[in-house]
């Protein structure tokens, strides 16, 4: 096998590994999101909702629905968490958080953690986090 073939095979293996890892991660996030979506009450008919922790510092809320004109609409809200504040962006635009929203968000995170830990990863938390 020539060096070119060797490099091509290595790249193919690397691509497959990255794709597998990405699918693995997506599957877990999808399962987390199914739990997260239930934390804000009943989901209206025709609405798809996601709420999940994307990574250590980022939480995502997403809803989509089909409007009266048959067009799919969506609202994607991202919360970037910093040590002293939380920056909210909705469909890419920075938005202020209301006191009520902050309270709801924090409550949702509090509920999300033990449920996801137990139901997705099989981890029972210490009482302080339940």
């Amino acid at each position: 096998m020539g060096i070119i073939d060797s490099i091509r095979d290595s790249l193919q293996t690397l691509r497959q590994t990255v794709a597998t890892d990405d699918n693995h991660r997506r599957e877990y996030l999808r399962r987390e999101s199914q739990i997260g979506a239930t934390l804000f009450g009943p989901i209206p008919a025709g609405v798809t909702r996601d709420f999940f922790c994307l990574d250590e510092t980022t939480w995502v809320w997403h809803e989509s629905w089909v409007d009266a004109d048959g067009q799919t609409q969506h609202v994607s809200t991202r919360y970037d968490v910093y040590p002293n504040t939380i920056i909210k962006t909705q469909n890419g635009q920075p938005m202020p958080m209301t006191v009520q929203e902050l309270e709801n968000f924090t409550k949702a995170v509090s509920a999300y953690y033990p449920l996801v830990a137990q139901q997705v990863y099989g981890v029972e938390l210490q009482p302080a986090y339940r």
Binding site: D21, R25, Y28, T57, V81, P83, L102, F105, T106, V116
Partner: protein, 91 residues
Amino acid sequence: MSSPDVLDPEAFSSDSDLAGTKQEIDRVFAEITGAIDPDRLAIAEELASDSRFVLEIGAHLRNIRYNTAGFDTPGTSQLPIGFDRAMRGGQ
């Protein structure tokens, strides 16, 4: 008027320039978070407290994901590598 060269340490050499820059950053930051409105100053304190709590939860989740499912290792954050650590005083 030309823009200062941000790579030139002399470009923002005076304390007043630095203070002005910091004030502008604080103002924009406060505006985004809604804290600039005097009626909503209370949310700033709540934000600070809640954000630390949410960060702690995020860190715990990352550890659980890594230890049980083998993903979400340190460095998978959307932030530039080292940014979040630097924000926490390099811990």
